[in-house]
């Protein structure tokens, strides 16, 4: 089949690339645009590892034809660092809260966390669990991932750090754990 040209915005920059009209956005991003953070785990929308933001919406690229991405604004994990290399608050929280193990599912989960961060509101842990329930992570038991998302969302949209020197210094997992222990004792 003849190739077509995709014109879209990728991580803030306009791009043009040839694609086979039968191709998924996952394959175009990985194999033609070298966005290798977008991971292939199942190719049928079961695992979430291939999630990117398309016009701000967290989307499984394995279920999204490249053809549909004409003119869209696409963001992957490669586009999150500040120009000077500073990590985005979600990336930093994932490092600080030990949310990363093998790291294969992490880029997809980070993009979903970005959707929450960009919403401008905060989320309960139950809401975060629900929002992340489309991702399979086999290493972490989700505990530190949820800690990382909750912390990042609260740093950006909430009131974490009020009266504290630097919100990113908060040991979030210790906070969560203290809460759980107090809960156990009740």
């Amino acid at each position: 089949m003849d190739m077509r040209i995709l014109k879209c915005t990728l991580n803030g920059r306009p791009v043009q690339v040839g694609y086979d009209p039968r191709e998924s956005l996952l394959d175009t991003l990985r194999d033609r645009l070298h966005m290798t953070s977008v991971k292939r785990g199942c190719e049928v929308g079961e695992c979430g590892a291939c999630t990117v933001l398309i016009d701000g919406v967290a989307t499984d690229t394995c279920l999204y034809l490249t053809d549909w991405a004409q003119g869209k604004d696409i963001v992957t994990v490669e586009g999150l660092q500040a120009p000077d290399g500073t990590l985005n608050p979600v990336q930093q929280a994932f490092v600080d809260e030990f949310a990363v193990q093998c790291g294969f599912c992490i880029p997809g989960i980070i993009m979903s966390a970005m959707e929450m961060v960009n919403s401008g509101r905060t989320y309960t842990r139950e809401e975060i669990r629900k929002n992340l329930s489309g991702y399979l992570c086999r290493c972490t038991g989700y505990m530190n991932v949820i800690n990382g998302v909750e912390k990042a969302v609260d740093i950006v949209n909430g009131h974490v750090g009020a009266g504290e020197q630097d919100a990113s210094d908060v040991d979030w997992s210790q906070r969560v754990k203290d809460g759980l222990e107090a809960d156990c004792a009740r």
Binding site: C42, E78, F98, Y135, R138, Y142, K177
Partner: protein, 780 residues
């Protein structure tokens, strides 16, 4: 306890930044695109033989480069398990070679019978559909005990009863006779004691790592290079060499970051076929990536097992005798063989064999036409502990005893040595279990909840449960345990650390940096680890399995670090002959005994590299061969809600507390515990590969139908440690990685028993099994 500076610090993971920025490269990320792709044709029968294959139409599909059938590949058989190889002096310990690249003898549904190499995946898949196969079909056997009665033909040639291995550890007859018993059965059924018995079953759990199995191969400089998502690069090199009949030195294996393994990638499933196909097409780059579906049935999950267990117990809460018989279904190929179920029955014994008069542990591993099975996290132990804890739970429940008190009356104690294992090297040498249990009890609120949950009625009930665990560290004395490590001083006074051991997500690279820094006497931040193993340059180490790396490879790392420290001080002594007394390396400088700062480390490093009279780029090799084993213990407490009519269990709270010796990095230990707990919750309640016994076909080979827990299925996880110093670990440490997957599942079972009074013996306790149990007991 010994004081450490770097070891024990909560250092951030050295790979975290690359993994959150998308810069961490996994196998397919490195693969040059476009490249040729290989796809495998799988049999559509579960037992039989390929009579003929017609590939004429497949070969003419546009984009197809080559079609290769089971009649084209060499007759060579090779072993695939991630076990050490042995020299001729110990040839009997070598693994059995029962696999071929492609095989005309079909032993399982979906066996590999042909392969296509094409310009792209679409062409390869089209060609696969055009291959015509003629089979001779035999009946399928999936039940191991039925298979033991013999099949015609046997699953593997030369094994008419299909038995792969059989072991028996039993209290010696003279000791039994002295107590007036003729056998262990006789002891277990002594009418002076209370007798308990059951049949149990544990299903096939799948590792379900999110990165599928993938490799690519190409030829370069007259050598075959294979880049693979493997836990065991050096073993991969050896097995490619064996399978292709080429010198092992002409194979180079590169292991980048890998997206989870949990035992799947402790087998060499497809790298040899990938390498052979690459050679058939002139050494062009060929990628072989399994689909998610293939991962479920064409790699190796946890062996399903049947058990019969019995116990006798006195009124004084003392276990008197126990017996376990286990039948493990290894499927069509041997892979890890009998070692798995041996772990099951051994750990059944170790956990509660402190004062029993008699014990009997018998196990068989059997070939069937089921999917081949192999290593999965904790390697047979969760299944054995499941049985041990079903017994303890039943006894405490029926006798009206406190489950914690009863377990602790019989549980493993410091100084325990396994009487049946070679050379008495398997021992529990620390004393953390009691403190773990006390802490767990307090965190869950055991006494209060037991009182609160007594005498419940109605459809929704709460329960609280407990289970203990025991696990070993590495594989000595059963198998060779060896490792190597290389450390090199850089010009700026930092160090290159190169391990043969592999990072597979568990945090090994970070912990090795801490261990090396501790031994040299510098900061962890001064160590640059070479994360990728390239067998052309990485020192030999068998790889990531058996929770062995911090224990065995850590010893090699410590050895290299200590040698580096000595060499640095020797160099300083030579350059500063007037220094007073013994020298010391601290705060990035060398000091003499009088407290004079002789030279900063970076300056000394420049002398090492560029001194006009004598250069010496300091590089040290660390080695370890370990003959001892160190037992780990721990416990899980959990609180559940059971909705009886819906047959649904919700885990409300779960607490695991373990004695893993010294913690090299407490946050990384916690990470391992969280992940293990979640996988065990899955094993307890939802994860089971379903095999149709009539055809041997897997019925739920997708992530939609195979139920891995999501963020909504896993509760808040509380993971803690009681820190002890194990005398066998390089820094007082012992196994961590696999230990947390053992005790949560039986603790959930115990909590369901507490809530409902219903005893379940089959794992996972899916809604179907729960419904049947509740109905059987009249709750529904």
């Amino acid at each position: 306890m010994e004081k450490y500076r770097e070891v024990g610090r909560q250092v951030k993971r050295v790979d975290a930044r690359d993994k959150v920025t998308g810069r961490a490269m996994f196998t397919d990320d490195l693969c040059p695109k476009p490249c040729l792709v290989a796809k495998i044709l799988h049999s559509t029968i579960g037992n039989g033989r390929v009579i003929s294959m017609d590939v004429t139409q497949a070969k003419v599909v546009p984009g197809v480069v080559g079609v290769f059938t089971c009649f084209d590949v060499p007759k060579t058989t090779f072993p695939v398990a991630g076990h050490p190889w042995y020299a001729a002096s110990a040839a009997a310990k070598r693994d059995v070679a029962d696999r071929r690249l492609l095989d005309d003898r079909v032993r399982i549904y979906g066996d590999n019978i042909a392969a296509v190499v094409a310009e792209d995946e679409v062409a390869a898949n089209r060609a696969l559909r055009k291959i015509k196969v003629e089979y001779e079909e035999y009946p399928v056997t999936y039940d191991p005990r039925e298979a033991m009665r013999g099949t015609n033909p046997p699953v593997q040639e030369g094994k008419p009863d299909n038995v792969v291995g059989h072991t028996l550890a039993v209290t010696p007859e003279d000791r039994l006779r002295a107590m007036g018993y003729s056998s262990v059965e006789d002891a277990v059924r002594d009418p002076r004691y209370h007798h308990f018995a059951f049949h149990a079953f544990t299903g096939e759990q799948s590792q379900a790592h999110i990165e599928v199995c993938v490799s690519y191969c190409y030829e370069e400089n007259g050598k075959l290079t294979c880049v693979s998502s493997t836990q065991i690069p050096h073993i991969c090199r050896r097995i490619i060499g064996q399978a292709l009949g080429i010198p092992w030195g002409s194979v180079r294996v590169i292991k980048p970051y890998i997206g989870g393994g949990f035992g799947t990638k402790q087998d060499i499933h497809f790298e040899p076929l990938n390498a052979w196909l690459c050679h058939q097409v002139g050494g062009r780059c060929v990628k072989l990536e399994l689909s998610r579906e293939e991962c479920f049935w064409d790699t190796s999950g946890r062996q399903p097992k049947d058990f019969e267990a019995e116990a006798s117990v006195g009124d004084d809460m003392r276990l008197h005798a126990r017996s376990i018989k286990a039948w493990s279904n290894t499927g069509g190929y041997i892979h890890h063989g009998h070692a798995l179920v041996l772990n099951s029955v051994n750990t059944f014994r170790w956990l509660y064999h402190t004062q029993e008069d008699a014990i009997r542990c018998e196990a068989w591993t059997v070939h069937t036409n089921g999917p081949h099975t192999g290593a999965m996290r904790a390697y047979g132990v969760p299944e054995g502990i499941w049985c041990a804890e079903c017994l303890m739970g039943d006894i405490a429940h029926d006798m009206g005893w406190d489950g914690v008190e009863f377990r602790m009356r019989n549980a493993i104690v410091p100084g325990y040595v396994d009487e049946f294992s070679p050379s008495n090297t398997i021992s529990y040498r620390t004393d953390g279990l009691r403190a773990c249990v006390e802490r767990g009890k307090r965190l869950i609120g055991w006494d209060e909840k037991r009182r609160e949950y007594a005498h419940q009625e109605g459809p929704i009930r709460r329960g609280v449960g407990v289970a203990l665990l025991v696990y070993k560290t590495a594989v000595a004395p059963f198998a060779l345990e060896t490792s190597n490590c290389q450390i090199t001083l850089n010009q700026d006074g930092t160090f290159q650390l190169q391990m043969g051991a592999t990072e597979i997500g568990q945090g090994a690279d970070t912990v090795f940096c801490q261990m090396a820094a501790e031994a040299i006497g510098v900061r962890t931040e001064d160590i640059h680890i070479v994360s990728t193993q390239d067998t052309d340059v990485a020192p030999y180490d068998p790889g990531a399995y058996a929770s062995r790396q911090t224990f065995v490879s850590g010893a090699a790392c410590k050895d290299a670090g200590q040698k580096m420290r000595e060499r640095i001080l020797e160099l300083a002594a030579r350059l500063y002959p007037d220094a007073q007394g013994g020298l010391d390396l601290r705060d990035h400088a060398v000091w003499d005994a009088a407290g004079n700062r002789l030279v900063d480390l970076p300056e000394l490093a420049l002398e090492a590299y560029y001194n006009l009279h004598r250069t010496d780029q300091i590089s040290t090799r660390g080695q370890a061969t370990v003959h001892q084993n160190a037992l780990v213990t721990g416990c899980t407490f959990c609180d559940v809600t059971v909705d009886v009519p819906l047959a649904q269990v919700t885990v409300n709270k779960i607490v695991s507390v373990q004695d893993n010796g010294r913690l090299m990095n407490p946050k990384l230990v916690e990470q391992q515990m969280h992940g293990g707990m979640a996988q065990s919750i899955g094993f307890a309640l939802s994860e089971e590969l379903l095999v149709d016994p009539k055809t041997g076909r897997v019925r739920n080979a997708t992530l939609l139908d195979y139920k891995v827990p999501t963020a909504m299925d896993v509760p808040e996880l509380i993971a803690e440690n009681v820190e002890t110093q194990d005398p066998m670990g390089p820094y007082g440490n012992k196994a961590v990685g696999e230990t947390p997957i053992i005790s949560p599942a039986p603790a959930i079972r115990d909590a369901i028993l507490n809530a409902t009074g219903v005893k379940f013996y089959e794992m996972p306790m899916t809604p179907q099994r729960l419904f049947e149990g509740f109905k059987r007991e009249g709750l529904i």
